[in-house]
Symmetry: C2
Subunit: 331 residues, 2 copies
DNA sequence: ATGAAAGCGCTAACAG
DNA sequence: CTGTTAGCGCTTTCAT
């Protein structure tokens, strides 16, 4: 900027004014300054800018564990939409596993993001308190925070699971296998609760041996499904707790040639769900809307709103495609 | 940092030393400083750090158009792996459409990333020259740059397309439909070239009416496929130029009940390709390796290597699953 | 082993 | 309309 000023023969402040569209520069000098900036390939240093304007980097940080691909993309898209309206850039960092989450979040904070949206990977987020107290609004997505009071935007995991289970019960299924990731994960726990609620409502006993958890990648979900089908009295229907599990289960059923015999309802929609044979009935949720909601909450807090942190729960929708409507086989 | 120093009763410099693991602080003061930092919830301001250490923000920028979900995730993963080894944080921004690409890239540069990896959305990147001259290494991925000399890491689009086409020709197909996005996109153009080369090699004439381009989202690809199948002499096989097109085509064939009659080979693998009926034969490439390669090139330049910018082309692999092995129907 | 002072590039707050 | 000065929080350099 100094260079530009020197090149034009004006003061550094005028350059700054032009750059920020402030009043008080004659058209003539403005022209010359713009020309010089172009010639010199000048780029404002936003580090210095952010440093000076104590706390306005116009950047929000998004930390996301590398996991569900679809979730990732839709979420970024939703957040981006809102952030752009607000003139902020969304920078996404992968938080990876729980172990690396902390350093990733700290790295974002060190770079002085104006706000933080976190899809939690780890179990403990108390270390974010100082940032929050320093005025950085933090919104959690998909799982509530632990060790810190902050807004959370969640899906109605339990409700969706209830709907999925009720749907299968309605077709007469009484032995419903469940395949999911680690039960300690919030969404998984909630989904299991919803499932059990629906069973209770119909007075169907919950059979623990039909539930296989800890089946994180689709390969393990496939193995879990094969195991279930090897039981003396295998389930007649399956409820898979996320799309990796759904894909694994679909693969297992396919390998057994039972795709058309065992009913399947999965939590989470995925792009090719309608192309699988039979098309997969799922519990779908609007992930972009989750992103938009989280971003809105964040910007509201940035603008000074400061209600008590709360949870926003978004609804799910049952998408009927075929796999979930397979009837109980005749005995 | 001032606060920490005041709290301990030492100079700001000692705090800095502790923070950076430098020599010259007694164990005793070090302890007290660390304690104070914890108590006060101190976080170093990396803006100021980056400002002072003119050009070491330990951050690399990745700009990616929101498009191919699978590509996105694998690429980030590959880049992250290398960047982490180098102690850098990867920050990803969506460049969206071509129009917004420029502002996104500039926003990253303004934040003084140490290097930039770009999956181009637009056609023109001359505006990045000043950054490059200022010493920011820039690596392009998947498509070569225009208007600037920089490294590019590409897939052997033409080779893959040749393999796909040769595979179909080998089964006797002579009427091969092609469905792809806009031909002006580098990868699309290359893939079409490869396709035509393979046809020429077998002296099969290229029939323009069997090629439908500009079919970007899967919905349009589906429409294009339906159109092709309505021709007086429809193709007996399809080659789809990316996974959106593959999914669209699969949907179309399914809706016509012709999934098992028309051969299909798609460029790009996708997670559920094996679950579709019939499983989809694809040209696959190692996207994580693309990411790793791009990151390595970038860090090498950051370390001072400065050979002439070049292209690295990574190979593809034909993955046979069934849809591509459907024979030509008897007349 | 420790500290004081200068300055990275910018903008806020005042002059002129 | 334009310029001067100070200072954001850190690291670098040079003293002590």
């Amino acid at each position: 900027m100094k260079d530009v000023a020197a090149h034009v023969g004006t003061s550094i402040k005028s350059v700054s004014r032009v750059l920020n569209g402030e009043e008080g520069v004659s058209e003539a000098t403005k022209e010359r300054i713009l020309k010089a900036m172009a010639e010199l390939g000048f780029r404002r240093n936003d580090l210095a800018r952010g440093l000076r304007q104590s706390d306005r980097t116009r950047t929000i940080g998004l930390a996301i564990p590398q996991a569900d691909t679809r979730f990732h993309d839709s979420l970024v898209h939703g957040i981006d939409e809102i952030a752009r309206q607000q003139g902020s850039l969304v920078l996404t960092a992968s938080s990876g596993t729980a172990a690396r989450e902390r350093e990733t979040l700290m790295a974002l904070c060190s770079r002085r993001v104006d706000g933080l949206i976190v899809v939690p990977a780890g179990e403990e987020h108390a270390f974010l308190r100082p940032e929050q107290q320093a005025g950085v609004p933090i919104v959690f997505v998909d799982r509530p925070p632990h060790g810190i009071a902050a807004d959370a935007v969640l899906t109605d995991h339990a409700g969706g699971a209830r709907d999925a289970t009720a749907h299968l019960l309605r077709q007469g299924h009484r032995r419903i296998g469940v395949i999911g990731a680690d039960a300690r994960i919030f969404s998984v726990g909630e989904r299991i609760s919803g499932h059990r609620e629906a069973l209770r409502a119909e007075k169907v006993p919950y059979q623990r041996e039909l539930t296989r958890l800890g089946a994180e990648p689709s390969r393990e979900a496939m193995a879990a499904c094969l195991e279930l089908m090897r039981l003396e009295r295998p389930p007649t229907a399956l409820f898979t707790l996320n799309n990796q599990c759904t894909i694994g289960a679909a693969r297992a059923l396919r390998s057994l040639g039972k795709s058309r015999e065992i009913a399947l309802v999965g939590f989470d929609d995925f792009e090719t769900a309608d192309l699988i044979d039979p098309p997969v009935t799922v519990i779908s949720h609007d992930i972009e809307e989750i992103g938009r909601t989280a971003a809105r909450l964040m910007f509201e807090r940035m603008a000074g709103h400061s209600p008590a942190p709360g949870r926003t729960v978004l609804p799910t929708r049952l998408v009927v495609r075929g796999s979930g409507e397979i009837p109980v086989p005749e005995q």
